[in-house]
């Protein structure tokens, strides 16, 4: 079963400050944790895809009626809605396993090496209907 595991820029429930306040050591520990978790998923054959996205400053929002020129608005989203920061697409045996992976990611070390406690969304990717 495939699940999207998604992180946005909000939903941080620990008291940690934004990343531009962290020390180099705290940043390195955080990046290393992410790399190690991804490597572990790859080892287990659960990793399908995973990407960090460019910063919200680079986002473009596009609305079109298919006729006229599309309306393109530069990011970040004007109403302050939280944008996607990154995702993992995993192929696992159960929802429980997807939740377990999300929990690991949610506890990534942040300031002071403490868990970031970020809210992470887990949603199943719809699959093709079973053959008749």
């Amino acid at each position: 079963m495939r699940y999207m595991i998604m992180m946005d820029y909000g939903g941080v429930e620990s008291a940690c400050e934004p990343m531009d306040r962290w020390t180099p050591e705290e940043l390195q520990a955080h990046f290393a944790f992410q790399a190690a978790l991804q490597a572990e998923l790859a080892e287990r054959g659960e990793f399908v895809d995973g990407q960090g996205l460019a910063s919200p400053d680079q986002a473009k929002f596009v609305v079109s009626d298919g006729v006229g020129a599309p309306v393109v608005i530069d990011g970040p989203y004007p109403e302050g809605k939280e944008l996607l920061a990154g995702y993992w697409l995993v192929d696992v045996d159960s929802l429980d396993r997807a939740i377990e992976i999300a929990a690991r990611a949610s506890a990534a070390p942040a300031q002071g090496g403490l868990p970031i406690k970020q809210r992470i969304e887990v949603r199943e990717v719809m699959s093709a209907p079973a053959a008749e």
Binding site: G45, S55, Q58
Partner: protein, 272 residues
């Protein structure tokens, strides 16, 4: 009781193939890699015991095989460049291209840290560089230059040769590097070359001269994080940490490569 290894492999094969094929664009290559992994399993599992996660084991072995193949492709490109060079040994640009490939490949082992983090040239552990490739690359770059009227590849190769021969960033023959960038920029007019030239200029004549050389490059580059990253680096060398931090943050926000973004974020943090 002996495990029916063959039966187990047959049952695991489809799941392993699915996992590998989903991650690899070339389905035929994925099939081959999984086939090799199954063969390895057939040999090793009766001897070493069945792994706790048989599908995971197969996927791991298959993925490693695909990574080896990628290295083989890179090696094949070098071999092809060698063959081309052997066919037209007097073609200076072909020689220069081969030299450039070798000299760039020589540095590969030092390019990433233990967690995959980016390590720029100035910070690389040069003892990890491949000496044999450096020697050969320098030899070919010299040949190409000696032929006269060096083209783009030959000039790039000569710059790489100067870097690869230097025991450290500080000990690099920067005046020669700058002279080569002057020629390369005159030849190509490339804004990316102008960017690299600004760094060399800073190393020879000081960061202020390098920063001045960045004026006018911004429009030619049309955005992107590289200009901010170079400016940040020169501001740091110029003893202006607050301005450098702001520039590193701009560069990080504009980065499109995760490792580069992490590196630039770290640089900003180190100066804060």
């Amino acid at each position: 009781m002996t495990t029916d290894v063959e039966g187990l492999l047959r049952r695991c094969a489809p799941q392993a193939l699915g996992a590998v094929a989903r991650r690899h664009a070339d389905f035929a290559a994925a099939e081959d890699a999984v086939q090799e992994a199954l063969l390895a399993g057939a040999q090793q599992w009766p001897r070493d015991g069945v792994p706790d996660n048989p599908v995971g084991w197969l996927v791991r072995v298959a993925v490693r095989r695909l990574a080896d193949e990628h290295r083989e492709v890179t090696a094949r490109r070098r071999r092809e460049a060698r063959v081309l060079h052997a066919a037209v040994p007097d073609d200076a640009e072909v020689t220069g291209l081969l030299a450039l490939l070798l000299l760039t490949e020589a540095r590969r082992p030092a390019r990433s840290g233990p967690h995959g983090e980016l390590v720029p040239l100035a910070e690389q552990d040069r003892s990890l560089w491949d000496r044999r490739l450096v020697v050969e690359g320098v030899h070919l770059a010299t040949d190409a230059l000696r032929a006269g009227r060096p083209g783009e590849h030959t000039l790039q190769a000569c710059i790489a040769a100067l870097h690869d021969q230097a025991p450290s960033s500080e000990a690099t023959d920067w005046p020669q590097v700058l002279a080569l960038y002057d020629r390369l920029h005159a030849l190509t007019g490339s804004p990316v070359v102008a960017l690299h030239r600004a760094v060399a200029l800073a190393m020879v004549h000081g960061p202020a001269r390098g920063l001045a050389a960045l004026d006018g490059v911004a429009e030619r580059l049309g955005g992107g994080h590289r200009l901010h990253a170079v400016r940040a680096h020169l501001l740091e060398l110029d003893g202006r940490p607050r301005d450098a931090v702001e520039a590193y943050r701009h560069a990080a926000a504009a980065a499109t490569n995760l490792r580069e973004r992490e590196y630039l974020t770290l640089k900003a943090a180190r100066l804060t």
